[in-house]
Amino acid sequence: MASVTLLSTKGLSRSFGGIRAVENVDFELPEGQIRALIGPNGAGKSTFVGLLCGRIAASSGSVRFMDRDISHLPAHRRIALGMAYTFQITSVFARLSLYENVALAARRSIGSDRASVDREVASALERVGLTERTDQPAEDLSYGHQRLLEIAMGIAQHPKLLILDEPTQGLADSEIRQFNALVRELNAEATILLIEHNMDVVMEIADAITVLNFGEVLAEGPPEEIRQNRAVQAAYLGTG
């Protein structure tokens, strides 16, 4: 299958003081894929996606998105090009209603027309199952539900690339099943880059997996291959 590369990096690095959080990463993400990014705690996963969307400045290296070098664009411009990002540590507008949280996400791309914003918000909240709570402040939601709200904010942006940093943290098993289904649905519209510790989720929905360890790419490939990989087992899956 001939595939178009949506996003790629060359020699992407970032160190914090002496810590090399991300080290010389070459990465390619074909359009339409669900890619999982895994690795032990502190492997540099969050830093890596932060470098992609510009939240964190790179020490060196470059990022290309949709055939264009975006290395020098500030975060908001990268987002405007079609990336959406959800934070590992939930970051919603706590005192604003769910409606307003999602509306803020929607308006940036579709403008302020009230009817279309209403429609967009209703549909995004419906997809994550939070319709009933539309008018409540976000701070009233449980942690897991705040993560779903973040995903709704991602959906409402209609991104080309949706970056999810540990979205299933705090979700119940039944909610995780719904989440898997949701990600597959979203994949019809968007390429998905998913950081995930829950290996069941990864194995079930990822088309391909990239493993980071000490800031470097340790392995990359389809789920089965990664499961068999010795180095990955040693570094990450423990006994395998």
Binding site: C53, R55, P74, A75, H76, R77, I79, A80, Y85, F87, S91, V92, F93, A94, R95, L96, E100, A103, L104, A105, R107, R108, S109, G111, S112, M153, Q157
Partner: protein, 314 residues
């Protein structure tokens, strides 16, 4: 009613009350209300930045006095008409706020407070330094014969009242419009969670800069109108006291509410007026009331009403 409609009705109601007040209150209160309405415009301008973006400036006297001196100097030295002088004042504040914003917004938090404070202090010193034109500390009076717009005599209490009313009404409706706009909602988003707003693709710096400009320009409009209506331009209006006052008015009235700044200005004006009737240590009385209010109504007067009764209050 939709929230927008309710809030429009409420604010129009307030304006209607102010029209009625013109005909019923005593000359003393009448004069006070004229001042309060213009100062409330200053507070409304301050609130755009403090209440909606969450940026605490300690330098808004700079914008108020830029408007006042822009107006006054244009009349005094260029001999322009009152209306043109107001325009000069507003434009001065506009330019100055763009410059101050571009500089001060490179900092956040306490540093932002200090930078705005220093810049305003520089403005104050500039007024003193150019004493040949500004008459330094003393300031200067704008002669009554020049205080007319379109044949209306602004020294006449009724005309003055309605001039102040007109400016307040325009600002109030403008900010109402602003906070309901998608631009205004992004400002609130920045106040609530700047990083999140940025990661939704909003240009945070640009939004803040525009907010500083709106805030500074409104403050400058208040300064220009105040100088013209009350006939005096002086350096006291550029001192730090006039940077703190709008902060107090907004805190008392309710930061982040459209009506709060007016309520706060009204309340504080009469609080000082009332307590100075009681004792010469009137600032102590005023101080105690302010402390009590911050303890028991930390959101300010309108803020408490919003929290308890009217959650739709913009």
């Amino acid at each position: 009613m939709r929230p927008e409609a309710k809030s429009l009705a409420l604010h129009l109601g307030l304006l209607a009350l102010l029209v009625i007040a013109q005909f019923v209150v005593s000359p003393f209160h009448h004069g006070n209300l004229s001042r309060i309405m213009v100062l409330a415009v200053f507070a409304i301008g301050y609130n755009v930045l403090f209440g909606y973006v969450g940026l605490l400036s300690l330098g808004h006297a700079l914008f108020f006095s830029a408007g006042m001196y822009g107006m006054g100097l244009a009349m005094q030295h260029l001999g322009v008409s009152a209306l043109a002088a107001i325009a000069v004042g507003v434009f001065s504040a506009f330019v100055l706020s763009a410059v101050v914003g571009a500089v001060a917004l490179r900092t956040t938090g306490v540093a932002f407070m200090i930078v705005t404070l220093m810049l305003a202090q520089a403005g104050y010193l500039a007024i003193l330094y150019f004493g040949a034109y500004t008459r330094g500390d003393e300031g200067f009076v704008i002669q009554p014969e020049f205080r007319t717009i379109a044949g209306l005599d602004l020294t006449d209490p009724t005309v003055r009242y309605f001039a102040a009313f007109f400016v307040l009404a325009a600002c109030l409706l403008l900010t109402l419009r602003l906070v309901h706009s998608s631009f205004g909602r992004v400002l609130v988003a920045i106040r609530e969670n700047e990083e999140r707003a940025r990661m939704l693709g909003y240009d945070v710096f640009r939004h803040k800069l525009i907010a500083v400009i709106i805030s500074g320009t409104l403050s400058g409009a208040a300064g220009a109108v105040y100088g013209l209506l009350f006939g005096y331009v002086g350096a006291t209006f550029a001192t730090v006291q006039y940077s703190i006052l709008p902060l107090l008015w907004v805190l008392l009235g309710g930061a982040g509410t459209v009506i709060g700044p007016f309520i706060g200005t009204l309340f504080m004006f009469y609080l000082i007026d009332f307590s100075s009737g009681l004792t010469s240590a009137y600032m102590v009385v005023a101080g105690v009331v302010l402390v009590l209010l911050t303890l028991f109504a930390p959101q300010g007067l309108a803020g408490e009403v919003k929290r308890r009764l009217l959650p739709w209050l913009p």
